[in-house]
């Protein structure tokens, strides 16, 4: 980068902060004072941000995986995750478990919901790939992107329709478009209190489960991509599709497999978020998808660890902004930081600077 360019970037970053700062309550002495007064609040918010970031990261995996292999931004992924949450809710509703029942009663429904929603979403994602993306694979870049937006609209409407099926699923409530309550099945034991530590910080088993699931998924996916034969084929396909085909890799099958894994992850994420946030609504896919996509880009899209990093960064930033600035401005801050980071590292935090393909 030339020197004058970086000076321009610094000026731009400073301008953004100067512009946002005063109106959004950026008052460093006050913030430092508040942190000094109760460091426990800071730690609590970091924990909240970490767990929220893990959830964002799980959804971001689906974006990263698909982008990594066919350079398609799968805008339908967020809505696929929403359908996963609906499938899970319907499943849990069929077992008729009550809100707040003990873990033993919820275990079987949760397992059933996991299987059903993963299989359902994986199948749906493969169908979308086969009939909405594959025919456009050699078309100009924008065509599959638009097609993905179309699939996203279809999914949203399916969600709205599903929410009205109260004859089949009474758990959907009286109104198709209204948010639905997801039964609270995960145990919530305060770990720090159980360990005998006297503090006002709460960190429950529920939070821990989300973190553990996120980390297991990241590690598992990383191992799969790096150390198995299909994983190797996926990497080869990502690198050069034609060369991979010459080497005897069935490219179509490998891409279908990628969508299958991405879909299964979306289904699992739907269940997990339903269990964690306890609310499901047909519009939830868009917001979550936007944040996850941002996290994937921030971490370096195509990079699995990057998705985790980007997700956690976004989660922590929003939590801190909610605490020390103003919730009204949280989104503005998150995206301002995103712009600044991408200005200096266009490929994302862990992204490689991809050579321009000519």
């Amino acid at each position: 980068m030339k020197q004058w360019q970086s000076i321009l970037l610094y000026c731009g970053a400073a301008y953004l902060i100067l512009l946002l700062g005063p109106i959004a309550g950026l008052d460093i002495p006050r913030i430092v004072g508040e942190i000094a007064k109760s460091p426990e609040v800071l730690i609590q918010q970091l924990l909240v941000g970490l767990v929220n970031g893990a959830i964002i990261a799980i959804i971001a995996l689906g974006y990263t995986l698909v982008y990594g292999i066919i350079e398609l931004i799968n805008f339908a992924h967020g809505d696929l995750y929403m359908l996963g949450a609906f499938a899970s809710l319907s499943m849990v509703g069929m077992f008729n478990v009550q809100d707040g029942s003990p873990l033993q009663a919820g275990l079987l429904p949760m397992l059933a919901a996991l299987v059903v929603s993963s299989v359902f979403c994986a199948g749906l994602n493969m169908l979308a790939e086969r009939y909405a993306y594959r025919p456009l694979r050699n078309a100009p870049r924008l065509a599959p992107l638009i097609s993905a937006i179309g699939v996203s609209f279809i999914f949203i409407n399916v969600g709205l329709f599903w929410g009205g099926l109260r004859i089949l699923f009474p758990i959907m409530g009286a109104n198709a478009a209204a948010p639905k309550s997801f039964p609270d099945l995960l145990p919530r034991i305060d770990i720090l209190k159980a360990l005998g530590i006297q503090t006002s910080i709460t960190f429950t088993t529920k939070d821990l489960i989300v973190l553990v699931v996120a980390i297991v998924l990241m590690v598992g996916l990383n191992l799969f991509v790096n150390y198995t034969k299909p994983g190797k084929a996926m990497r080869a396909t990502a690198q050069n599709r034609d060369a991979a085909r010459i080497m005897g890799i069935n490219v179509n099958q490998i891409i279908a497999l990628t969508f299958l894994i991405g879909g299964a992850l979306a289904g699992a994420a739907g269940l997990l978020v339903g269990l964690y946030n306890n609310t499901v609504v047909f519009t939830m896919g868009f917001t979550a998808g936007l944040r996850a996509f941002t996290a994937a880009v921030l971490g370096g899209i195509g990079n699995i660890v990057g998705a985790m990093l980007g997700g956690v960064l976004i989660g922590v930033l929003s939590a801190l902004s909610d605490q020390y600035l103003s919730s009204r401005w949280t989104n503005a801050w998150v995206f301002a930081v995103l712009v600044i980071i991408l200005a200096f590292r266009p490929g994302g935090l862990l992204g490689e600077n991809v050579q321009e393909k000519v």
């Binding site: 025919p135 009205g164 209204a178 309550s181 605490q323 919730s327």
Partner: protein, 432 residues
């Protein structure tokens, strides 16, 4: 990639296209069904097209969101209007003037709620149909802002059963040049039968104080209605000695509010007041305040009539227990006298509990029908003046008048609380 040259995949593809189209049509059809289930099929009450000339037929239209999540409420408003027309046989002036009724939907499936373009188009349609003399609607205050000026320049009177934004009628309570900007021809053509938010916000603050709640954190959904009522709650709260810990706008689309609730929890409040509607994530707010450990006996949650509906309880599940909601009036089941009779009739006729605004739909239609009866001809300006001149009206809500701004003189509001998965009336509230 295989090019779609051979006929095999092409056929398969067209088959899939056909399936998808069918699916899409199915989804659309089901959406439409929701729209029309109330409507045109069973519509113009008692007004089979007869050979009467336009001279002795007038029309009133309703413009309400009949698509999406407001449907539960608007359906009962329409039922209330139909009741009035049925009871009067849809005629006034000893049978000389017939009244037709048309239902318009100001929401679209794409928006999922009221749509500005649809509101404007409905108003223009009403104006261009010379038999239309009155509009009953809208449901949302934001929609009223658009409809009033269009109807105003054509002298069509509008009676709202549900708008509560103060700036629509009262000078000094809204922004800038409100309310005069809505009345370009200089004459008022808008009234409402429900008390405005300046009363409801104040009543909420007074109720909080009477319940012994002192430390309050205020949230709003950053919309016209929600922020407006939250601001009034804050002003009144400061006046009567509540301690306001903070006031923030939420991102209505966020997936959770744990960080925000953690912050609020550290401030140790007695009450969280949310100015906003269920559709802007009120259920998630309630869930997350419990999720971060604010227990129902320590911290209460209160909102305005925007959360006074079953949808909130569906969204918040067991965490909804104990949620408080003010309502700019009295629930049907608590009405006295004529109101009690109406409530019984409604339940018998529609075989269902009326939602909160049904009585207001009934009252709005009664006022309009009575005004038409006083004028006895198709004269928009005269009917407008007759509605605005309504004094000492003896309706189902009690005895009331329109003040000089077109607002009802009723100021009795109610406080309601969720008990066993249902909103229950808890007490009458006064704004003062």
């Amino acid at each position: 990639m295989s090019s779609p040259g051979s006929s095999g995949p092409l056929n398969r593809r067209s088959l899939i296209a056909l399936t998808l189209t069918t699916l899409a049509i199915g989804v659309l059809a089901s959406a439409c069904q929701e729209t029309t289930s109330s409507g045109p099929g069973s519509s113009p009450t008692g007004s089979a097209p007869t050979s009467t000339t336009a001279g002795n037929t007038v029309k009133i239209v309703s413009s309400l969101p009949m698509t999406g999540s407001s449907l539960g409420q608007t359906q009962t408003i329409v039922n209330g209007i139909k009741q009035v027309l049925e009871e009067t046989n849809a005629t006034v002036c000893d049978g000389k003037l017939k009244i037709e009724f048309e239902i318009m939907d100001d929401a679209t499936a794409a928006a999922g709620k009221w749509d500005p373009a649809q509101v404007t188009s409905n108003a223009n349609k009403a104006v261009s149909d010379s038999s239309v003399v009155a509009v009953i609607g809208t449901f949302n205050s934001g929609a009223a802002k658009l409809a009033i000026p269009i109807l105003n320049s054509a002298n069509v009177v509008m009676v709202s059963p549900a708008n509560t934004y103060p700036g629509l009628t009262k000078p000094g309570k809204g922004e800038g040049k409100e309310p005069d900007v809505y009345y370009p021809n200089g004459k008022r053509n808008y009234t409402r039968v429900v008390p405005a938010d300046d009363l409801q916000g104040a009543a909420g603050a007074n109720w909080a104080k009477s319940l012994g709640l002192k430390r309050v954190f205020i949230l709003d959904d950053q919309e016209l209605y929600g922020k407006g009522i939250a601001d009034i709650f804050e002003q009144t709260g400061k006046k009567i000695g509540l301690e306001i810990l903070g006031h923030e706008g939420i991102d209505a689309k966020a997936s959770d509010y744990k960080a925000l609730m953690t912050k609020i929890k550290a401030l140790n409040p007695d009450l969280i007041y949310f100015g906003g509607i269920t559709q802007n994530n009120a259920g998630q707010l309630v869930k997350d305040m419990r999720n971060v450990g604010m227990t129902p006996d320590q911290v209460k949650f209160m909102g305005p009539d925007g959360i006074f509906e079953q949808a909130l309880i569906d969204a918040a599940g067991k965490d909804a227990e104990g949620v408080l909601a003010t309502f700019g009036g009295v629930p049907g089941s608590q009405l006295q006298g004529a109101g009690k009779t109406w409530y019984e009739n409604y339940k018998k006729k529609f075989n269902a509990e009326p939602e909160a605004y049904a009585a207001y739909g009934y009252e709005a239609a009664s006022v309009v029908v009575k005004a038409i009866g006083n004028v006895c001809k198709n004269d928009r300006a005269a009917i407008r003046d007759a509605v605005l001149a309504t004094k000492d009206f003896d309706g189902v809500l009690g005895k009331w008048s329109f003040d000089q701004y077109g607002d009802t003189t009723l100021s009795t509001l109610s406080g309601n609380m969720v008990k066993n998965g249902k909103y229950e009336f808890s007490q009458l509230l006064k704004a003062e």
